[in-house]
C-alpha cells in the first residue's frame, strides 16, 4: 500500500493537473465542509505522529494552541531535512508538492492559520523552485490566496530557504532563523504552540507529517490508525542508506520489522557481507547490533529498546566498516553543528572530537572510551535543546555496544602508527 509515495513514479506528478487526476484536492474540499475541531479530532484518532523525529502526536500538538489569543497563528512546515541518513521529505517536495500543499491547506483550516512558511534547507534549491511553481499554480486556480476554494478563508504559503545549519531543523532554532536571527534554540517552555514565530502561536510540523493529513481526511482517523501499530498510526517513509543493495526511500506501515526493511525492501547486504550494526532513526539514534534488528519500527518499540525511531533514517553498517572511524564521522558532525550557545554542548562536543581525533591519530588512551562516555553523559539533560542529546546518544551507543572494538583500536593503533604528519582524523574522514 502506498499513500504519500503513491505519485512518486507518475510522470509530471508535480503538476497540479496530474495531481487532481489522481484525486488530489478532493480532501481539502471535504475538509472545508468539516468543523475545524472535527479535523483535529480525526488527526488525534489517527495516531499520526510527528515524523520529523520526536514523534509527538500531531493532533495533540494542534490542540495545544491557546484559545482566545487574539494574535495571528502560524503554521511552519519543517523541510530542513538535516538529520544524516534522512532523505525522505525531498521525495514529497520533488514529486508531490501539491500533496504537501493540500496538507498545509487542511492543517491551516483546522488550526485557523492564514500564513504558512515552508522552511526548506538551503541546499534544496531544486525543491524550493518546484514548491514555488506549485504554489503559483495553486494560487492561479484559486486554491491559495484571499479566498481558498471560494471560501472566506485566506491562505498564503511562503517558501523560506535556510542557509546551511543542522541546528535550524530544531523547531525553536528554526523559528529564530525564520525571524532573521542566528539559529540559536530557545528555552522551552514556552512551546511554539503558545509562543512561536514573532511570539505568536505557531505549529511546527515536518513535511511528511503534514503530507499524511490529506490521507487522514480521506480514510478517516480510525482507518488510518489501523494501518500502523498501536499508538503509531498509518505508514511512513523509511530512508535506507549505507551497506545495502538497494538504498532508497520506502513507504511501509509503522511497526514494520527492521529486518524486513533491510533484507526485503532494501535488498539485503552485498554478497559475502554480514550485518554489523544499524542506526535505525537518523544519526542521532543509538545504534543497534545485528542481534537487535527483530524490532517493529515504531516510536514506542524503539524507545523501549533504548533507541529512537526518529526520522526513520536507517543507516546500515556491514562487517567491513570500522565503527571507531564511523563514530568519529558522527562526532565531527555534531561538534561542527553545535550552535555554540550553551556550554555543555559546545564544549562537550568539542572535547569528544578531540578525544576521537587522538584515538584515530594513534594517541588514544585506554581510558578514552570511558572519557567519551563521561562527557556524553554530562551533556545529556544539560543543554538548551536536544542537539546535546543527539550528539551524545550515538557516542554512548557505539562505545557501549562495541566497546571491544574501541579498546582494540586504541591498543593496536598506538603500536602500528608512527606519529602522523597530518591528522588522520582530518585527512581520512
Amino acid at each position: 500500500m502506498k499513500l504519500v509515495s503513491r505519485n512518486f513514479a507518475t510522470p509530471d506528478s508535480h503538476k497540479l493537473a496530474v495531481y487532481e487526476q489522481s484525486g488530489g484536492y478532493a480532501r481539502i474540499r471535504k475538509a472545508l465542509e468539516m468543523e475545524p475541531q472535527k479535523i483535529i479530532d480525526e488527526v488525534i484518532t489517527s495516531n499520526l505522529r510527528g515524523l520529523g523525529g520526536a514523534g509527538f502526536p500531531a493532533g495533540r500538538k494542534w490542540s495545544f494552541l491557546p484559545k482566545g489569543n487574539p494574535k495571528p497563528r502560524y503554521l511552519v512546515v519543517n523541510a530542513d531535512e538535516g538529520e544524516p541518513g534522512t532523505c525522505k521529505d525531498k521525495y514529497i517536495m520533488t514529486y508531490d508538492p501539491h500533496l504537501l500543499l493540500e496538507g498545509i491547506m487542511i492543517a491551516s483550516w483546522a488550526i485557523n492559520s492564514h500564513t504558512c512558511f515552508i522552511y526548506i534547507r538551503g541546499e534544496y534549491v531544486k525543491q524550493a523552485r518546484i514548491l514555488e511553481e506549485a504554489i503559483a499554480e495553486a494560487k492561479a486556480a484559486g486554491y491559495l490566496g484571499d479566498k481558498i476554494f471560494g471560501k472566506d478563508f485566506p491562505l498564503e504559503v511562503i517558501v523560506h530557504r535556510g542557509a546551511g545549519a543542522y541546528i535550524c531543523g530544531e523547531e525553536t532554532s528554526l523559528l529564530n532563523s525564520l525571524e532573521g536571527q542566528r539559529g540559536w534554540p530557545r528555552l522551552k517552555p514556552p512551546f511554539p504552540a503558545v509562543e512561536g514565530y514573532l511570539a505568536c502561536p505557531t505549529i511546527v510540523n515536518n513535511v511528511e507529517t503534514i503530507s499524511y493529513v490529506p490521507w487522514v481526511i480521506e480514510l478517516g482517523g480510525q482507518k488510518f490508525a489501523e494501518l500502523g501499530s498501536e499508538r503509531n498510526g498509518g505508514l511512513r517513509l523509511y530512508s535506507v542508506s549505507g551497506c545495502v543493495n538497494k538504498p532508497g526511500v520506502y513507504e511501509l506501515p509503522m511497526g514494520t520489522p527492521l529486518r524486513e526493511i533491510i533484507f526485503e525492501h532494501a535488498g539485503g547486504l552485498p554478497e559475502g557481507r554480514t550485518l554489523k550494526a544499524v542506526i535505525p532513526g537518523g544519526s542521532s539514534a543509538p545504534v543497534l547490533t545485528a542481534a537487535e534488528i527483530d524490532i517493529p519500527m515504531d516510536f514506542d518499540s524503539l524507545a523501549k529498546a533504548g533507541s529512537m525511531l526518529g526520522s526513520a533514517g536507517i543507516i546500515v553498517f556491514d562487517d567491513s566498516v570500522n565503527l571507531v572511524e564511523a563514530l568519529a564521522v558522527l562526532i565531527r558532525f555534531y561538534a561542527h553543528e553545535s550552535c555554540g550557545q550553551c556550554t555543555p554542548c559546545r564544549e562537550g562536543t568539542g572535547w569528544m572530537r578531540k578525544i576521537i581525533a587522538r584515538v584515530l591519530d594513534g594517541g588514544g588512551r585506554p581510558a578514552d572510551p570511558d572519557n567519551l562516555l563521561r562527557i556524553a553523559n554530562n551533556i545529556i539533560g544539560r543543554s538548551i535543546c536536544p542537539l546535546g542529546e543527539a550528539a551524545s546518544l550515538p557516542v554512548i551507543g557505539f562505545v557501549t555496544k562495541f566497546r571491544a572494538e574501541f579498546e582494540e583500536y586504541i591498543a593496536t593503533s598506538r603500536k602500528v602508527d608512527a606519529p602522523a604528519t597530518t591528522s588522520r582524523m582530518a585527512a581520512a574522514l
Binding site: 541518513g85 532523505c87 566498516v321 561542527h336
Partner: protein, 179 residues
C-alpha cells in the same frame, strides 16, 4: 553551522577586517525590486534577512562587509546583526569562491560509500586543498556535512545542483565538462 575546528572561520574573519572594501555595494535596479518584493512578503522586516542574503550572494558572489552593509540598510538592522547571521550559516561565503563551488558530502552515508577517497581524488584532480580555490578562479573545493541524498550516496553539490552516485570517473567527466 560554522563551528568546525578545521574550518577557516577565524582566518576569514581576520581577512574581512583587514581587506575591508571601501566601495559600497549597490543592487542593480532589478535586484532591488526583487529585494523589495521579498521584504513585502514577511510580517516582519527581519524575517527577510536570509532571502535578502541569498539574493545578495547571487548578485555579488559572496557577502563582503560592503554587502553586509547593503543588507543592513535594506533591512534596517544594525550591520553587526547581519554579520552575526552571515557568520552563523555555512552557505554564506565571506570570501569570493570559484565559478564552480564543489561541495562534497563527508557525512556518514557518503563516508560509507568512499567519500574520503573521492575527496582525495578531487584534491588531486584540482590541485587544491579543502577550502581553496584554483588559481584560475574556476573551482573552489569544500567538504560539507549531510546533503540529504544519503540514498544516492556519495553526493556533492556544484553551485545549485546536486550530483549523486558519484564515482571517480563521473567526477572526471563532470570537471572536464565544466567550462
Amino acid at each position: 553551522m560554522k563551528n568546525d575546528g578545521y574550518s577557516v572561520t577565524n582566518k576569514i574573519m581576520a581577512d574581512s577586517i583587514t581587506t575591508e572594501q571601501t566601495q559600497p555595494a549597490v543592487f542593480s535596479p532589478a535586484a532591488f525590486k526583487e529585494a523589495e518584493a521579498i521584504i513585502a512578503r514577511y510580517p516582519s522586516r527581519d524575517s527577510a534577512t536570509l532571502p535578502i542574503l541569498h539574493l545578495a550572494q547571487r548578485e555579488f558572489g559572496y557577502i563582503s562587509p560592503a554587502v553586509e552593509q547593503l543588507a543592513a540598510d535594506l533591512l534596517q538592522r544594525p550591520v553587526t546583526d547581519i554579520h552575526g547571521v552571515v557568520t552563523f550559516y555555512t552557505m554564506f561565503n565571506q570570501k569570493p569562491v570559484g565559478k564552480y563551488h564543489i561541495q562534497i558530502c563527508r557525512n556518514i552515508s557518503c563516508w560509507l560509500k568512499n567519500a574520503p577517497g573521492l575527496l582525495e581524488h578531487l584534491k588531486n584532480r584540482l590541485g587544491i586543498d579543502v577550502g581553496e580555490t584554483t588559481p584560475d578562479g574556476k573551482f573552489t573545493l569544500t567538504a560539507i556535512e549531510c546533503l540529504a541524498h544519503c540514498e544516492q550516496a556519495p553526493a556533492m553539490q556544484v553551485n545549485d545542483d546536486i550530483i549523486t552516485n558519484l564515482t571517480k570517473e563521473k567526477i572526471d567527466t563532470l570537471i572536464g565538462d565544466l567550462k
